[in-house]
């Protein structure tokens, strides 16, 4: 008699994904390299003053993280396609949502590590300093990163069986991420400049995260068992 525990399956899948990434370093290396290139190229492309930097940094930072996250999001399902391992999950009694949550949490950790490593570089290259309350930056980072990975994990699963999934993922993900991206950029800019309150944008991010997390959890079983 077998009975899969959803929390246990999520934990086991997350631990397995972290172990696989630790051994291969496929996602983190590609993300870091990509994000580093963006920082360096942008810093050479224009030479803003400290005030200008604070105004544009929100956009630069989040666009860099969004593009870099796509690399990790493609990797997360690609490893399930090798040797058709996903079929072993599909024939098991383990709930689909446990797999989705584990993948989303894994991607959240990878992107968070990227952000932790890249943020000091952004601060140095663009001479950044928060005029508004700095703790809000952490809230925006957590909510914004979850917004990127929850949709990214879901749409990466949808594009999994398409022939050009590397192209398909950004085509699906970027348009639907616009409200979240707008909230992240505006909230970050407002905290860095201190010109207006970030509260509205933070609330918008919370709502976005709740809606898209629920929708993804609700629909993921269909995606997993689709042919």
């Amino acid at each position: 008699m077998t009975n899969a525990n959803p929390t246990g399956v999520t934990r086991a899948t997350l631990a397995k994904d972290l172990r696989l990434e630790w051994r291969s370093k496929d996602a983190i290396n590609s993300m870091l390299f990509f994000a580093l290139l963006v920082v360096v190229i942008f810093s050479f492309s224009f030479d803003p003053t400290a005030e200008e930097s604070r105004r544009i940094a929100g956009g630069l930072v989040w666009v860099a993280f969004l593009f870099a996250a796509v690399v990790a999001l493609n990797q997360t399902w690609a490893r399930e396609l090798r040797n058709q391992v996903l079929d072993a999950y599909r024939v098991s009694p383990a709930p689909a949502n446990s797999l989705f949550l584990a993948k989303a949490l894994g991607n959240f950790i990878f992107v968070a590590v990227l952000e932790a490593l890249m943020t000091p570089l952004f601060i140095v290259f663009y001479n950044l300093r928060a005029v508004g309350p700095p703790y809000q930056l952490l809230i925006v980072a957590i909510l914004g990163t979850w917004a990127l990975v929850v949709n990214g994990t879901f749409f990466a699963a949808i594009s999994l069986r398409t022939r050009s999934r590397e192209i398909m993922l950004p085509l699906l993900l970027f348009p639907i991420s616009i409200p979240a991206l707008l909230a992240m950029v505006e909230a970050t800019s407002s905290i860095l400049t201190g010109e207006f309150s970030a509260k509205f944008w933070i609330v918008l991010l919370v709502a976005y995260d709740v809606v898209f997390t629920m929708a993804s959890l609700f629909l993921f079983e269909l995606i997993l068992h689709a042919e």
Partner: protein, 236 residues
Amino acid sequence: MPSATLEPAPGHPIVSVANLVKQFGRFAALRGVTAEFAPDRLYAILGDNGAGKTTLLRSLAGLSAPTRGTVSIMGTTNLREVCAQLGYMAHPSLLYDELSGMENLRYFARLYGIDSEQRCPEVIRAVNLDPALERSVGQYSQGMRQRLSLARALLNDPKILMLDEPFSNVDAYSAREMTHLLKSLRDQGKTIFVVTHQAALLEGVADEFVRMEAGQIVRRSRDLNLERSLEADLRG
């Protein structure tokens, strides 16, 4: 959550398919397969490439939704209800190359809520592999992968075992060992489906040889020699 408590009614087939059709675009991989399979038997599914053997097995495992028709296992057509009772071994290994054999098995054991500390060494020994082997699966020989893949399919002690080409790339000795294992599993009361091109390995072990051609079951025979002579006659 799928239930694992269903049992076939006495005297009833454990697996039955009715008018099963599976189309991929305009290509029909299965063309109206209708069959019943009794419990506690080992079925060898034979046929040329493209005959529909793998598609039939995937349909039985719930991996491939029928275009038309039904698959019923232990009296239910909702295969999620009985998935904890099924063991499936595919032609690809369904294993993570970067993990060791035990790491793979421990992970898959969690998907079934199984106590991995006891069960994983048990199944890994059953297929004649060493539980202490630290190598990643990517460094295994093809034969070792096949055996580990069989161990994965056995993890949940399934009532029905579905094996797609379990003997491919396995040396003669290991293939015989695998055959003995399948025989003992059948004797323990499991129903086993083996898709294979190496029917001779199952001579004296399989209870029935099921011949597929062009997406249909064309013949069922209890004797491999009879099956071979019929096949030879038909091919002229």
